[in-house]
């Protein structure tokens, strides 16, 4: 057995950044408060990096998200591999031109001459009463953008392995750190290396229902498993890990086996990323499903502040259980 070490996902991010910077002098880190002079970042994700790698490679920036992503893109065009932090996913909106019109498109628009191997780390997720402007899950927007990969892990080992892959990837990646999956420690192999982008992980095999999820919602799905097992339902839980490009093969194989699919994500249900998966499953497995594909996601509402509303906003393990049970009839 591989030796492991217990850490939470933020520590896994820190470990990945440290390793990547150690191994490749082209890796840079930039963002608000990321330096040790600033206390090593508000969450501590970048703590120690500027002390170890110097404040030329690890640069604290002004609150200027366009300038942050622009600097990352330009440095990438200059041969570097910058990891830019946008403190919260809602603030990607102030840098959206740089992300959408530039980072994602420069390779194509230049006919392959430009490459933009940047990683955008960004935090989000409800559950901490940060209300309407600090917790949105926008992976659906980025998945609907050609030219950027969208990675959304759920546990410390995946956080580490996938962040390593994003940094090495020759194309822009957005790496989503979601509140509901950040603080729970788990064992991570000490030599945890890169985990391929675009490959799902089967958390639990099963034969009755395929449950597809990612990010914090995968954690809440996992919490739903004991009750489902108890109810005699054999669930195959797939943690997609990458939202775009998503692992169609794994999902379709599982769906073909179980004949029943539930997709759950924290993002808003309406026009959400789950729709793509549902539409694809329906299209590819037409006539082979035993029940309609169900999608779970946030209601059509901004993220509320009040605790009972926030609880209702999230797709709780209970809701997952109820939906799967209802599907089994």
């Amino acid at each position: 057995m591989t030796a492991t070490v217990k850490m939470n996902s933020l520590q896994a991010v820190n470990a990945a950044l440290t390793e990547a910077m150690e191994q490749d002098p082209k890796v840079l880190v930039l963002g608000e408060d990321v330096g040790d002079r600033e206390g090593g970042g508000v969450t501590g994700a970048t703590a120690g990096l500027s002390t170890r790698f110097g404040d030329q490679r690890v640069r604290t920036t002004p609150i200027s998200e366009q300038a942050i992503i622009g600097a990352a893109i330009g440095a990438a065009l200059g041969g570097y591999k910058p990891v830019a932090e946008i403190m919260l996913m809602n603030f990607t909106t102030v840098a959206m031109d740089m992300i959408f019109n530039h980072a994602a498109k420069l390779r194509f628009m230049s006919g392959g001459q430009s490459q933009v191997p940047i990683t955008i780390r960004t935090l989000t997720g409800a559950g901490w009463q940060t209300a309407g402007q600090h917790a949105d899950h926008l992976e659906g927007w980025f998945a609907h953008t050609a030219g950027i990969k969208v990675v959304a892990p759920s546990n410390p080992a995946d956080y580490k392995g996938l962040l390593l892959s994003c940094i090495q990837d020759p194309d822009p990646c957005i790496f989503i750190e979601s509140a509901g999956s950040l603080f729970t420690p788990a064992e991570v192999p000490i030599n945890q290396g890169p985990i391929p982008i675009g490959k799902a992980r089967i958390v639990q095999e099963g034969t009755d229902v395929t449950l597809v999820s990612w990010s914090s919602q995968a954690v809440r799905c996992q919490m739903a498993l004991p009750a489902l097992t108890e109810a005699g339902i054999s669930v195959e839980l797939i943690d997609l890990r990458t939202v775009s490009p998503w692992d169609k093969q794994t999902v379709l194989e599982s769906a073909a086996k179980t004949g029943r699919v539930v997709i759950a994500h924290e993002a808003m249900r309406s026009f959400g990323p789950g729709a793509e998966i549902a539409a694809t499953v329906n299209e590819e497995l037409f006539g082979q499903l035993k029940a309609p594909v169900r999608r779970l996601g946030a209601p059509y509402s901004p993220v509320p502040f009040s605790k009972p509303l926030e609880n209702a906003f999230l797709v709780s393990p209970d809701k997952v259980v109820a939906t799967v049970k209802a599907l089994m009839g």
């Binding site: 508000v42 102030v94 600090h134 059509y300 502040f305």
Partner: protein, 331 residues
């Protein structure tokens, strides 16, 4: 930086009124922090302890018809603007009697009756919206002014630039009030701002800009009254940089390890609140008894508001379907 000349001095009544607003902010802040520590409130809290003079002085020159747009660190701005405390407490507790029925919380408190129009959690975003309110006032032909509050860190984001340029071009009755507390989260002013005084940026927009001691009610009054008069007279916007300090770090629970103990202690030693109180008494502008009474009244108001807020019920989950649009979303 422009010069402030011929600015009026505050009357004794105004000075006491400024003090009233300051102590209301401080007592309320103290009660919020105590209540969080007791576990009776859960929320991200950005205390403005130390920054009381700025909105208190400005608000002494405003009426309920004048508007403010503020930020996550903005409860002091609202309290200075005389927002009632009961719905404020109910809101930060996430209750149905809150200003926003508990849906917005501390970072999005809104109270149009007292002119608290927008509270944003996004750095810089108070400014573009303040322009629009000022534009509406101009179209209405009123003398209303709008204040956009923001921090020093916010002066480096694009929205600042676009807003000041537009406001100057359109001669909007708006004040851009930067509460420069020397830090943006954990980053020191000079590590994220390329100019020694933010007010110098005003020249790039053909707009007057002043740097004032934001802890000195007299200096603040001179700058604020000049800028507000200018706005009311249709002469356009002003950038006010008000130097101050946040005594309690960025957010409740902040360990302050990005600053030295000495600088923090030095700032706290210059706490404007006791200093102002002492001077009011010293100069015979108020009596010890008068201020004690004022404080006692405020403490009673805060205590009442806290009890009210914490006793208010939580909203029903149906609220997720309300106020998304004017029309309720079907269940």
């Amino acid at each position: 930086m422009a010069e402030l000349s011929n600015a009026p001095a505050p009357s004794p009544e105004t000075l006491v009124d400024i003090y009233r607003r300051m102590i209301r902010i401080e007592r309320n802040d103290d009660a919020i922090r105590k209540t969080i520590r007791l576990g009776r409130l859960q929320m991200p809290y950005y205390s403005a302890r130390g920054q009381e003079v700025i909105p208190s002085t400005l608000s002494s020159l405003l009426t309920n018809d004048d508007k403010i747009c503020t930020i996550y660190r903005g409860i002091h701005d609202m309290v200075a603007k005389d927002m009632p405390l009961r719905p404020l407490w109910a809101e930060i507790a996430g209750r149905v009697d809150g200003t926003c029925k508990g849906k917005g919380g501390p970072m999005h408190l809104t109270h149009p009756e007292t002119g608290v129009m927008v509270t944003t959690g996004v750095v810089g975003s108070s400014m573009p919206i303040a322009n629009g309110l000022a534009w509406a006032a101009l179209l209405d032909g009123t003398k209303q002014v709008t204040i956009a509050y923001f921090g020093d860190g916010a002066s480096n984001i694009g929205a600042f630039h676009e807003s000041l340029n537009l406001a100057s071009l359109w001669k909007l009755p708006v004040l851009f009030v930067c509460q420069n507390n020397g830090f943006a989260e954990h980053t020191r002013y000079e590590n994220c701002t390329s100019v020694d005084f933010i007010s110098k940026r005003a020249a790039g927009y053909g707009m007057p800009g002043f740097t004032v001691d934001g802890n000195d009610p007299w200096a603040m009054y001179a700058a604020a009254s000049t800028a507000i008069a200018r706005a009311r007279e249709g002469e356009g916007p002003t950038l006010l940089e008000c130097k101050t300090f946040r005594f309690l770090g960025h957010v409740f629970g902040d360990d302050d390890k990005y600053m030295t103990k000495e600088e923090k202690a030095a700032a706290i030693a210059k706490d404007p609140l006791p200093a102002f109180r002492a001077r009011l008494i010293e100069e015979g502008l108020a009596t010890e008894e008068q201020l004690a009474k004022l404080q006692a009244d405020i403490e009673a108001e805060v205590a009442d508001a806290m009890e009210f807020g914490l006793a208010s019920p939580f909203p029903s989950v149906d609220e997720l379907r309300r106020d998304v649009f004017a029309e309720e979303i079907a269940a």
